[in-house]
């Protein structure tokens, strides 16, 4: 039977700006969309806003012209910072002109290219297109015709990469954002490589309808990945340290507003009260500014705190991070505009009232979250933070139902070895596994296939397991069995059955 695509969660599905036919228009870029710019293997997440200057890969431009085009369209930057759609040129499989056999006579004296830096700059300034510049470089290279075909191929690819600035606008997804973060700002995500994240989502059986507990300090990337796999169905309670959860990466996914209705947050600082029954919704004392800035850096090794020049160059997530106030008021980014509006009007009374209203709302949400947690029937737990995993696992597992998977990520192996040991002592978990994944990518070309690089040891480690009923709870079935000990024995023992009317079929 053919399955038809059903309705997504909540009628208004799409982004705030477009309400009509969200599904049919899904592939078109709209004003206000969160997109990812891609050039070769470099990504940057931005929000489409008219007349807003965007910098990417040493170029600046406006995104206005992308609106109305399909995701996946390629553009190039033309005069005035406008993007023009540009069809991807087919690979010049050059009808083999001249080529050499090997490089025995090619001397690299740095003088084989006759065009100087200034010549090339002049060409660029004249507005000569990228592929024309590449053509010029080939013609002005004395050694080009001596190179082997493969070397010529490689040379052309390299020059194209440099001079043909093709920018693709793609839809954000866990795949793209996790690759982006790992490549550009791994410190923000505790060096979690994207294949490790992929394992977490599957090992954790993350799917629509779950009630998930997520504890992460990965800029909201893990939260976003979980939300994507849940599709707006089910609920998520995000545990957070300090004043509020960082969700910069979550915003990049561009989820519809409805997804956030079932997203709750709960402060770690109140977990113990919740566990021993003394929870109250009174606000915690505000955190000092210092701890917040440390949170941004994830408090990693001392060397990592010195931000390298490259990191300072360009933030991979435009502006959103700067505008996000890390106060007790945890604002979802879409609520920002009205917040600012009030401030601008200069009406202090309104502003204070608004603030109070928001705080009341948050208190209410916190109580809801506490209620959800107290049911102790969550369908799964994901931990991926800069904190030592053991105390987190030991306490948060209390909120998880039996026979549910949990996954704990750590940048280092040793804390997970300890966590494993402590979980064994605690009991109530089975199938504990400590693992990491190795990723190797390949260059596949005719007669030139070989592995490229191997990624291992740097992607983090995972501890996974399944919860079971703890020893304290006796299952009803035990009543039927007369047991003196609970040790498994090899000897056959006859069981006295008190109720002979029990079924006894062959």
């Amino acid at each position: 039977m053919e399955g038809a695509k059903g309705e997504g969660p909540a009628g208004d599905g799409a982004m705030e700006n477009s309400v009509e036919h969200p599904r049919q228009q899904d592939h078109l870029i709209r004003d206000g969309d969160f997109v990812v710019l891609k050039r070769e293997d470099v990504f940057k997440a931005v929000q489409v806003q008219r007349r807003k200057k965007v910098t990417f890969e040493k170029q600046w431009f406006f995104l206005d012209n992308v609106i109305g085009h399909s995701y996946g369209t390629t553009f190039e930057v033309s005069s005035g910072g406008n993007l023009q759609p540009k069809k991807m040129m087919e690979e010049i499989t050059s009808e083999t002109k001249e080529a050499g056999i090997d490089n025995r006579n090619i001397v690299d004296d740095g003088k084989s290219q006759k065009l100087t830096q200034d010549d090339i700059k002049a060409l660029k300034d004249k507005g000569i297109k990228g592929e024309e510049i590449v053509q010029q470089l080939i013609e002005n290279s004395t050694t080009f015709r001596d190179k082997t075909e493969f070397a010529q191929d490689k040379y052309i690819k390299k020059k194209k990469k440099k001079y043909e600035a093709i920018i693709t606008v793609v839809k954000p997804s866990t795949r793209i954002l996790s690759i982006m973060y790992y490549a550009r700002e791994p410190g923000k995500i505790n060096y979690m490589r994207y294949d490790t994240l992929a394992q977490m989502l599957t090992l954790g059986n993350i799917h629509a309808g779950n009630k998930m507990i997520v504890m992460e300090t990965c800029a909201g990337l893990v939260l976003g990945a979980v939300m994507e796999r849940m599709g707006g169905f089910g609920s998520i309670i995000q545990m957070y340290p300090g004043g509020g959860p960082v969700r910069a990466a979550t915003t990049c996914f561009g989820f519809p507003k409805s997804f956030f209705n079932s997203l709750y947050e709960f402060p770690l600082g109140k977990v113990n009260c919740l566990l021993n029954g003394t929870f109250s919704s009174k606000a915690l004392p505000p955190e000092s500014k210092d701890s917040i800035s440390v949170e941004e850096n994830n408090g990693t090794l001392l060397d990592d705190l010195q931000t390298s020049p490259k990191e300072m160059e360009e933030s991979i997530v435009e502006v959103i991070e700067n505008n996000h106030p890390q106060q007790e008021t945890m604002e979802v980014i879409s609520q920002e505009p009205e917040y600012k509006e009030h401030k601008e009007r200069g009406n202090k009374k309104d502003y204070i009232q608004e603030l109070q209203r928001k705080q009341e709302q948050q208190k209410k949400r916190q109580i809801e979250a506490a209620t959800l947690l107290n049911e102790r029937n969550a369908d799964g737990l994901i931990i991926a933070s800069r904190y030592h995993p053991t105390p987190l696992a030991l306490s948060l597992l209390e909120f998880v139902a039996p026979s549910r998977p949990f996954v704990v990520y750590c940048h280092y192996k040793e804390p997970l070895v300890e966590c494993y040991t402590k979980l064994r002592e605690r009991g109530g978990v089975i199938n504990l596994r400590l693992s990491e994944t190795w990723l190797r990518n390949y260059q596949v070309l005719p007669d030139r296939s070989h592995p490229k690089l191997m990624m291992s040891g740097g992607g983090g480690y995972l501890l996974s397991g399944i919860t079971v009923a703890s020893d304290k709870q006796k299952s009803e079935s035990c009543v039927l069995e007369l047991q003196k000990t609970e040790e498994p024995t090899a000897k056959k023992r006859k069981v006295q059955e008190s109720d002979s009317t029990l079924e006894d079929l062959p």
């Binding site: 996946g72 294949d195 026979s403 070895v417 994944t437 498994p488 079929l505």
Partner: protein
């Protein structure tokens, strides 16, 4: 039970996983009046399973105990009856992420094989998505259909018994993603392109041999696919144990006297034997143009 949604209590007709310890487990079909033998004794379904919560400890007739677990595609992958070589969760995880699967995705898959990946896909795309799976072997196609029905996921999957290389997936321009695990994937690239939506989509081909990968990459380029990437992923598991190393006796000349005996500490060591290679994964995007 449901492979696509958790339930608390065991019902008749459910598939449950009996866990014996140390990674040893097997699936059972829960039936009123039925019995299951384990090395710890008999489990009576009506008494020990039906109406009990998943995750319960069940004491068997000989006195030993087991746990009864809620099925998940991951547990199913480890316990399903093999009709073919299957994909394991390590590969399944990266495939799921790289194909951008999520609720609502429409996916085409061939070959169905033993249904390991199929169950994982259904879990991910439910409740609003669908899986179109193609298997050219008649018995395997039938067995898969039976299993999907037994597992109550048949409304999210359509099984077609045909040759994907000749006749495609049976649908056109509807898929967000296509997955190929067949001997000659390059012969199905054209059909894959047709099955994918016009606006674009993702493709993955799994092949054990590099020569297959080369031909597939060539076919992908010829059909205008972009972002072609080939990778492989390996799982490295660690065994957590306590280790003892004796302290060497270097003589008693020091003051205070050195401590002798053994030191004990926790270690995480790689497993002695581990999987070396499953297959190469080639991913690509269908270009709009």
């Amino acid at each position: 039970m449901s492979f696509v949604e958790y339930e608390e209590l065991i019902k008749e007709g459910d598939t449950a996983i009996i866990f014996l310890g140390h990674g040893s487990m097997f699936p059972v079909q829960v039936q009123r009046g039925a019995q299951t033998q384990t090395k710890y004794g008999v489990i009576r379904h009506s008494a020990h399973l039906i109406g009990q919560p998943f995750g319960s400890r069940v004491t068997c007739s000989k006195g030993g105990w087991v746990y009864v677990l809620h099925p998940t595609p991951e547990l199913w992958t480890l316990n399903l009856p093999h009709r073919t070589q299957i994909l394991y969760s390590t590969d399944i995880s990266i495939i799921t992420m790289m194909l951008e699967l999520k609720p609502g995705s429409i996916v085409c898959e061939s070959g169905t094989g033993s249904g390991s990946l199929s169950h994982a896909i259904i879990r991910t795309v439910a409740p609003t998505g669908h899986l179109h799976t193609v298997e050219f072997h008649q018995q395997r196609a039938q067995k898969a259909e039976e299993e999907f029905r037994e597992h109550r996921v048949d409304r999210w999957v359509t099984v077609r018994n045909q040759d994907v290389c000749k006749n495609g997936f049976g649908v056109s321009h509807v898929a967000d993603a296509v997955f190929l695990d067949i001997p000659s994937p390059w012969e199905a690239i054209g059909h894959a392109k047709d099955a994918l939506k016009v606006e674009g989509g993702r493709l993955c081909s799994f092949s054990p041999c590099i020569e297959q990968v080369q031909r597939t990459c060539q076919a992908l380029a010829e059909h205008g696919f972009i972002e072609v990437t080939t990778l492989e992923i390996l799982l490295r598991e660690y065994s957590v144990r306590t280790a003892n190393l004796p302290l060497p006796d270097l003589g008693g000349a020091l003051d205070p006297l050195p401590v002798l005996g053994e030191t004990q500490f926790k270690i995480g060591v790689p497993l002695k034997e581990t999987v070396g290679h499953t297959g190469y994964l080639t991913f690509a995007s269908k270009s709009l143009f």
